[in-house]
Symmetry: C2
Subunit: 357 residues, 2 copies
């Protein structure tokens, strides 16, 4: 029996549902009723489209459906890619009532969302994430954007979707490495605000890696719940939303210094969380507990082979810098995070030195 | 004696002042106190920068000031231009607290504002408009964006400034043709909501063309007041804000079909208003009254030489189209406008046929 759950991201007039379940594709969910105008443009990529585009169209009965296909991969998350989606919208005669639908992982969602945010100064947007990482993280919260040679997500906008539709069936075709990358963000949610969830993850990690539907659906729902609550409190990341960046100051710098696409985002965040935990100075027992969970999720735990000077320089491009001061998310203890702006440079250097060996 | 006035654009936590007066440059106004962080990037162009950039810097004492200079003209209002400003922000090490300051006309303001809206998903923004059109129209209300080969302002965002600083002294160097273009938007404000203002403009048009400071300052303040009130009611143009597009459905199509830069925006709007007035079916006496005022402002009143079929096709790219239905701003009478979605095609064709001869 399919189990469906709905989580609401509470943002006043911009509130929207995240609907999680299985059997949604092939017409199992009436997505057409969430498309306000007469037409929509589905943005996807060359890997996901052959798998799910026709199935998604079956959920859009009565609407004119245009398509915009992108190459696959983080290396293509560029201003040129969002410009190409805009070109497609123009060619399709899209107007202010045309809905942009992202079908794919975080890269597709970020590019499509940014195009939707900027085409005619904003058109309706729907997320249909097909990777675990996109389902628990990037599709929720309205952050959209593309990379710049100078840094990750340097060009973007906040643009909330109308609905996020998560069909866990799409995880059947996800490569193992990407499943693990998604688990990194799930572990993050436990680490920053919910030690009980972290303990549950320790227990269920083998089941999650086996892709057992029940545990997967529970993890997705709980992670979306945590993220939705944080976003509802602080949509534009003036304060508490920054907690979601735990592991990301180091993580983005890893991605940036090795070139986007070499490491998956979740992999970089996994190591970044361990570096941030070390920087926090929580006891070794807790650090080891986090490390063990990350290892259990088949994620990397060190940055051997990465140029540490390049990595340190890349950190200075982080969006969380406020007046030249690096901002870190630190752990008070596992399950409780806080924001810190005044980490001494020598402590950062010590963590980098240890991580690089 | 300098006369300063302040108009507030009332948008809750995004409210901001429009400060109008003279003698602001060369340190006459403390703009530094409106720059939250330690640094700012002034975006200007090759024409305006030599005239006012150093004077503006004198108002930014204590702040690090970077510069980004663009080529002059509507033809350069492209995605490439906003990308170039983003590149400059990255090169300057700009962070979330860096303020982008637009010094120039509407093109500079629109490009700089769009870059500020999308760099790191939004950084603070200040407008220092130096053309009459930018002072009474484009700098107020938070619309930013760039053109696309498929249409004007097709790519953009809403991003409200921290402050709009209008120094009427900058109009001394404005070419006559651009002064008239600004008067088109001023006439528009009277035509859509304030017949008394329109009558005042009829009376003061010679003084405005002579650039007499008193009448100019009054017109700028009154026009900003009208625009601020409309924007405060409907920031994202879901309804009443569309009234400000009077003359713009035809106007944008004129610009688009002759190629951006050939006609000034205000010139296209001037003719567009006359076409929209004809489409409204208001009596000839009123149409002639509007025509006389536009002529008095030394603006064009017909589109001779423009390809009417191309113009009609360009109208279909208008952002105001809702589900393939063209939206027009119509006059009930001079000084009172309304929105109409159901204008019969044959009436549009009749207006185009008359305008083209």
């Amino acid at each position: 029996m399919p189990t469906h759950s709905t989580i609401t991201v509470d943002l006043g007039e911009r509130s929207y549902p995240i609907v999680i379940g299985d059997g949604f594709l092939d017409g199992g969910f009436d997505l057409a009723s969430h498309v306000g105008g007469a037409d929509c443009v589905v943005v996807s990529n060359e890997i996901v489209a052959p798998l799910y585009l026709e199935s998604l169209k079956a959920c859009l009965a009565g609407k004119t459906v245009h398509e915009a296909l992108l190459p696959d991969g983080e290396t293509y998350k560029t201003q040129a890619a969002s410009a190409a989606v805009i070109d497609r919208l123009v060619a399709a005669g899209a107007n202010r009532d045309t809905t942009v639908i992202a079908l794919g992982g975080g890269v597709v969602g970020d590019i499509a969302g940014f195009a939707a945010a900027t085409y005619m100064r904003g058109v309706p947007f729907i997320q249909v994430p097909t990777t675990l990482l996109a389902q628990v993280d990037s599709s929720v919260g309205g952050k959209t954007g593309v990379n710049h040679p100078g840094g990750k997500n340097l060009v973007g906008a906040f643009h909330q979707p109308e609905i996020v539709l998560i069909d866990t069936d799409t995880l059947d075709t996800l490569p193992d490495r990407e499943l693990s990358a998604g688990l990194a963000e799930i572990i993050k949610h436990g680490a920053i605000v919910d030690i009980d969830y972290l303990a549950w993850l320790e227990d269920k990690m083998p089941a999650l890696l086996e892709r057992r539907p029940g545990p997967l659906a529970h993890a997705i729902a709980r992670s979306c719940e945590i993220k939705a609550a944080v976003v509802a409190e602080d949509e534009r990341e003036r304060g508490r939303r920054a907690l979601l960046n735990f592991g990301h100051t180091f993580g983005h710098a890893i991605e940036n210094s090795v070139g986007y696409g070499e490491w998956l985002h979740g992999e970089a965040v996994a190591v970044g969380m361990l570096m941030a935990a070390a920087l926090s100075g929580i006891d070794m027992e807790q650090q080891n507990r986090l490390r063990a969970l990350i290892e259990a999720a088949r994620l990397p735990t060190n940055v051997k082979g990465v140029d540490m000077q390049k990595l340190r320089a890349a950190m200075n491009l982080d969006k969380k810098i406020v007046d030249k001061q690096l901002r870190f998310i630190q752990l008070e203890t596992l399950g409780e995070a806080y924001i810190r702006d005044d980490v001494p440079e020598e402590r950062i250097a010590a963590v980098l030195a240890r991580a690089g060996t």
